[in-house]
Amino acid sequence: MSLALEQLLNGLQFGVMIFLLAAGLTLVFGIMGVINLAHGSIYMLGAYVAASTASKGAPFIVAVAAGAAAAALAGLVVELVVIRRLYVRDHLDQVLATFALILIANDGVSMAWGKTPLNMTMPPALAGAVSLGGLTYPTYRLVLIAAGIAVAIGLYFLIARSRLGMLIRAGATHRETVAALGVDITRLNTIVFTLGALLAGVAGALLAPILAVQVGMGEQILILTFVAIVVGGLGSIRGAFVGALLVGLVDTLGRAYIPVLLKPVARPEIADSLGGGLSAIAIYVLMAVVLVWKPRGLFPAGTR
């Protein structure tokens, strides 16, 4: 039972971190209509800057802030120089251009920090474990869950209760009207993109102590993020939250339990490799099932 709780919490933690990435990605795609493959690279930059700042002796909070700031800055620059020119282009060109950004970012990072993965030590205050009804669970992961939920709540208030949020919501479904009403759509786009980049950087910085900070970490999580926003529905934060949690839970629980479930029905060596394969594709099966049921995702922008 405590194993199930542990996996559940792991899935939740994974899910909220994906949410930080998914929120920015879904807004950029939903409002600006731009597919941004380089979102994972911004996340990676946040992780690298945070890890390297921490290794120079800075306290944890400072390192995280540095990572987030670096990511936001990178996002701003990328938006001004590249993304801005992609709004009018078709998805194909956006894919190629942002793919090119991935190449640039990966090499840029390995030139700046070398090829060996970086490590970020967990802050001692958060490195312990908490007892939850028979299960000892790492404190840090609980902190991540809390942070993710806090961001979700903060984003909810931003989107639902502020003028900027109103513009974002309007822009997601009626882009031309918003522009016609005199809103500076260019500045709105820049703000949205930079906000997304900031969140991605926070995710990278927060995950740095428990993951290997290396080139290519962005691509791994990017696919999961895309699946999350497609499942959740493009353009909506609520969709991103639900989609991200689903992806996090399905992936984690799948990896934990599918091999186990196969053991009674298949030979051990087959169960192992088949289980590994099946759990890896679990989230794609999830996406296929959701799209068959709701072709535009669970909560696409514009639904109430």
Binding site: H91, D107, G108, L234, G276, G277, A280, I281, M287
Partner: protein
């Protein structure tokens, strides 16, 4: 010039690689450029073809005239299944679903230990063709060239045929074609399968060339690479895809000779091409660079 190159195995091998990738790129251009279907999972069929040849070789079948058509059939069948399910969607959803299926193929290949899993599957020897000896790099080069030319010719005929016109019409306005009574789904599916078979043939050739197949033949970065070749060369031009493959592979080798960080200048070049040369290299070379 070719004669001089033919005596240097290094160049012959490099050109053979380009020819094989060009075949995949042309097959992808068929569906992306003419059919308007942006598939981010084309590498799956490349891998399917390659693995078919490798697994057949593992079981003693080394006659290329048997193995290669079977590879095309397997890849085409896979494309038929994926296409039947994916073509119900469009736009970003189509991109994501094709990506998802390719990921499934990738993870399946990693999972099956009998086929080498993550370590890949080597082939003991090249396939056997009547009359010619594939072990000679020049011969393999010539065979790849012949097959590429054949595929380009067939594709060119296809896009100008009634089938092709319907396909291209569907890309511009599916509603119009449907109103005219054409079952566009069927046309797109057939095109998707042909493209898959083409990629499968290329995969088979790769298995012969490298005498090795591995799951990363189906990776999403491989699919991305193929898309880059098509877009770089200019979508919807067929010949452009060949240029795209040549340029991308050429750039990669060239830059890798200068620095181990060759991805950076490559990325910059790609970015410049996308932002400033809208019709790709083909359009640029043809003299219509409209920035």
């Amino acid at each position: 010039m070719l004669a001089a190159l033919l005596h240097q195995p290094f160049w012959v091998n490099a050109c053979t690689r380009i020819l094989i990738y060009a075949l995949v790129a042309v097959s992808l251009d068929l569906i992306v450029g003419y059919g308007g279907m942006v598939s981010f999972g084309h590498a799956a069929y490349f891998a399917a073809g390659g693995y078919t040849v490798a697994v057949l070789a593992q079981h003693g079948v080394d006659a290329a005239l048997i193995a290669w058509p079977i590879a095309m059939l397997v890849a085409g069948a896979l494309a038929a299944i994926v296409g039947a399910l994916s073509l119900r969607t469009s736009g970003i959803f189509f991109i994501m679903i094709t990506l998802a299926f390719a990921q499934m193929v990738f993870f399946a290949l990693v999972a099956v230990k009998a086929w080498g899993g993550n370590d890949g599957l080597p082939l003991d020897a090249r396939g056997v063709l009547p009359i010619v000896d594939l072990r000679d790099p020049n011969v393999l080069y010539a065979v790849c060239l012949a097959l590429l030319v054949a595929f380009v010719v067939v594709s060119a005929q296809l896009v100008e045929s009634r089938f092709g016109i319907v396909l291209r019409g569907a890309r511009r306005s599916e509603r119009r074609l449907l109103a005219l009574g054409f079952p566009t789904f069927r046309y797109k599916l057939v095109a998707f399968v042909i493209a898959g078979a083409g990629a499968g043939l290329a995969g088979a050739l790769w298995a012969e060339y490298a005498r090795f197949v591995s799951p990363d033949m189906a990776s999403w970065s491989r699919s991305g690479e193929f898309l880059v070749m098509v877009i770089l060369g200019g979508i919807g031009t067929l010949a452009g895809a060949v240029y795209g493959a040549a340029v991308l592979l050429g750039l990669e080798s060239l830059l890798a000779g200068f620095t181990e960080h060759w991805m950076l200048p490559l990325g910059l070049i790609l970015l410049a091409v996308v932002l400033f040369a809208k019709r790709g290299l083909y359009g640029w070379l043809a003299g219509t660079n409209d920035g």
